[in-house]
């Protein structure tokens, strides 16, 4: 065991001063030190993607990043996706299209998709399917996840273009 390091994690725009062992993963720090339990751990070896969060706007496996590596970089989790009580288009689309069953993988898929759509709002469908194959779901067979993300992507594009006008 090693001494703890004091860092500041900036999560969903809010600073969390935490003291963590250097070996502590970002996922554990988010869940246990920041109390943000929406980020789930499904495998802790970087395959399932349930712990996907955005760091510097890009999807990362929070189980494969140390908390100290995320210090000073903006982190976004599922708790920061909605605007107050107004659901993000992805959250609403997952709800409307039955894009989740047990819900355990859902935060990871939401953040993965949010990162992909923010990076490229006009992403080609085959690239979207490819990116979504990064994460595992055991309940839905993926069909309604793809449907949900496609619907949200279309909506976000329409919103984005009307905002640009």
């Amino acid at each position: 065991m090693t001494d703890k390091v004091s860092i500041t994690l900036t999560v969903n725009g809010r600073d969390h001063a935490v003291a963590v062992e250097p070996r502590r993963t970002l996922a554990d720090a988010l869940r246990d030190d920041c109390g943000l339990t929406g980020t789930h751990l499904g495998c802790e070896h970087g395959v399932c993607g349930a712990c996907t969060v955005l760091v510097d706007g890009k999807p990362v496996r929070a189980c494969l990043m140390f908390a100290v590596q995320a210090a000073g970089r903006p982190v976004r989790t599922v708790e920061g996706l909605a605007d107050g009580e107004t659901l993000h288009p992805l959250q609403r689309a997952f709800w409307e299209n039955h894009g989740l069953q047990c819900g355990f993988c859902t935060p990871g898929f939401l953040m993965l998709a949010a990162g992909a759509l923010e990076a490229d709002p006009d992403i080609a469908d085959e690239d979207l399917v490819d990116i979504l194959s990064s994460n595992l779901c055991r309940c839905t067979g993926y069909q309604n996840i793809l449907k949900s993300v496609r619907q949200a992507a279309a909506e976000m594009r329409a919103c984005g273009s009307s905002a640009a006008r």
């Binding site: 789930h40 499904g42 708790e79 039955h98 194959s133 055991r138 993926y142 069909q143």
Partner: protein
Amino acid sequence: MTKGDLNAGGEISSGKISSGTGWIGRSIPRLEDPSLVTGRGHYVADAARGAAAVRFVRSPVARGTILGIEVPEGATVFTAADLQGVKPIRPVLNRPDYKAAGQPVLPADRVSFSGQAVAVVVADDAAAAEDAAEAVFVDIEPEDPVIDVDLALAEGASQVHPEAPGNVFVEGRMATPGLAAAFDTAAEIVSLELRSRRQSAMPMEPRGGVATFDPATGRVTLTASVQMPHMLRTGIADTLGIPEADLRVIAPDVGGGFGQKMSLFPEYVVLVWLARRLRRAVAWIEDRRENFLASAHGRDQAYTVRAAFTAAGRLTAVEADMRCNVGAFSCYPVTCGVEPLMAFAELPGPYDFAEYGARSRGVTTNTCTMAPYRGVSRPMLTFTMERIMDVAAKRLGLDPVEIRRRNLIGTFPHRSPTGLVYDEGSYREALEVAAEVIDVPAFRARQRAALAEGRHIGLGFSVFSERTGYGTPAFAARAMEIVPGYETVEMAMDPSGFLEVRIGASPHGQGLKTSLAQIISDEVGLSPDRIRVISGDTDATPYGWGTFASRSLVISGGACKLAAAKIADRLKAIAGEMLEAAAADIVLGAGEARVEGTDRRIALASVARAAYHQSHRHGGQAGLRETATYDPAGTFSNACHAAIVEVDVETGGVRIERFVVAEDAGILINPMIVDGQIHGGVAQGIANALYEELIYDEDGNLVTASLADYLPPTSAEIPNIEIRHLVTLSDATITRAKGVGEGGSIGAPAAVINAVVDALAPFGVELFEMPASPQRIRDAIRKAGSQGHVPRQAHD
């Protein structure tokens, strides 16, 4: 029997049975979802903050004698020596052929599989607990383990448990009187050896539990990711020898289970014991490696079958020897009989034949314990019958659709050779619908054209029955000492007109609360958002059996309908008095009670308030609280799956091009949720057919204990699934809904493998083993080639 159909919008257009306001049959978004999409769900790990961390020390060997356990200084470690008086887990089947060994919560002298917990460490946080667990040295004298099911049955195999000679835990045998004659007179006999390799249900959320101790009462509350909270409480209390009243079990949001989270595992007994011993909160959150090593496995089966056909392609007899590897112990409460006895009873499936002989054994080995996994044996049963059909069709010169057409059951009730009674279904119709959607003639033309280009595409069918929603009679027939099956619902409308529903069933992600609310809505005339379904808390719900065996919607839904009808009767009686009309003239709907044919109406909230606050005016019965229990005999859903695949003959890789499901689960309460069950089940079935395999080496080490080695499919492998619903209205259930939780996983493997075999027909390849991995497919192509089969070349 009447039939209805679903139109494109998913609304039931005919065959409607409810006189209510029509919530049944609508794809309403789930009531469960707002918290889950915002990260506000409550899974077990979310309750672990502040609790001491528990880590289990697990056996590194599959079989051996424990010589000693060395504990690092200063660490808090407990072993079997500390757990004196804790009884082993010993589920019982009252059959003379059942010989299961009790499973020690922590073993004192012997280990029986690699990964078995042998000691437990408690520390302030999870990392410290892992550090301490790594420093515990377990000295075990290893012995040669028994791993493979057929080697375990071989003459002279060493015995896994002294209680089970020949390593057989349970055995069923039967033969109908005309069996031998049917084979003697057969025009064609198909003899096959089939193999299903071991798999994991692999819920996204592994197991876990948090046990808290209340010093004021001495009670322990165990929050755990489980499917059967009441059963878990009974099992833990019995094992520890404490009153059930001293224990509360809560199943919070559960991140999938698929059967794996049904069983009483030693870890949960230890957690409750620790909370009582240490008088503090303790948490065990399993990691993925532990989940693979030590939760539960399934599907490790080997069958030897013979099937007799007439020259006209009529199946007359099936004889099967079925060996199921049930692992080291017998799972509680359903026992190790769950796979072999299911196989024994249900092999005939959707086919109409009279003569049946079976021997089915549950075989113990030094491997992780088998427990139910979605479909339980039926993926392998369906694989068996559907491979038989395709092989027979080829030999008899029949089309795969035609041979099934000639053999599927078509009159109801149908009695199977094992005595199961099937209610009305649409076995033949589902086959025809699937064949029509696929457009078989067009496919065959496309297949010929593809072959001319050197591409190998194939079409496979799979027809099956899915026994669902069965109550106590079915489980009693298995001679289970613990006979599950019924469901009880307690329903109370509060004075504000809101309905609280307490159920003994316990969902693990399938949207049950929404579906139940829809059933109740139609009875009481209240919208689903005014109905709160409470589940998964032994302090707050009636004793029930949780979720398994495609039962929750049928059985708990039936109990909801009965209880809601009682509430509705009381609402009508009180509303009648308030509106000065006969109760029989009151209709409930849109949150109101109305005198039929008039504009006289009153809000249900006012009726509810009167029930509590003006009870003296309304017959003196206070409040609005009703209970109902439902215990049906069971019902059979049915479906036909059809898959089109393309096989890369160079790599052995398979791509699924189309997947069609023609499915009949009776009345659909929420078609969107039903479709979701089918999608997920089919994805697991595809994984069963092509990808997932737990592999032990000969020393009993699990070599696939990570997601880098065990391969659940991603969105890149699972195709769009096209679903067509048939609606047979059966009287077997009071909602006329049938279960649908397992069908996808039951039917898909056979459809996929039949399609692969069809694609490889030019090579003369047959496949009888799942998963048909690229290695196995390439191996089969090579073997076929060495036997003189060469692919037809269109341009020779």
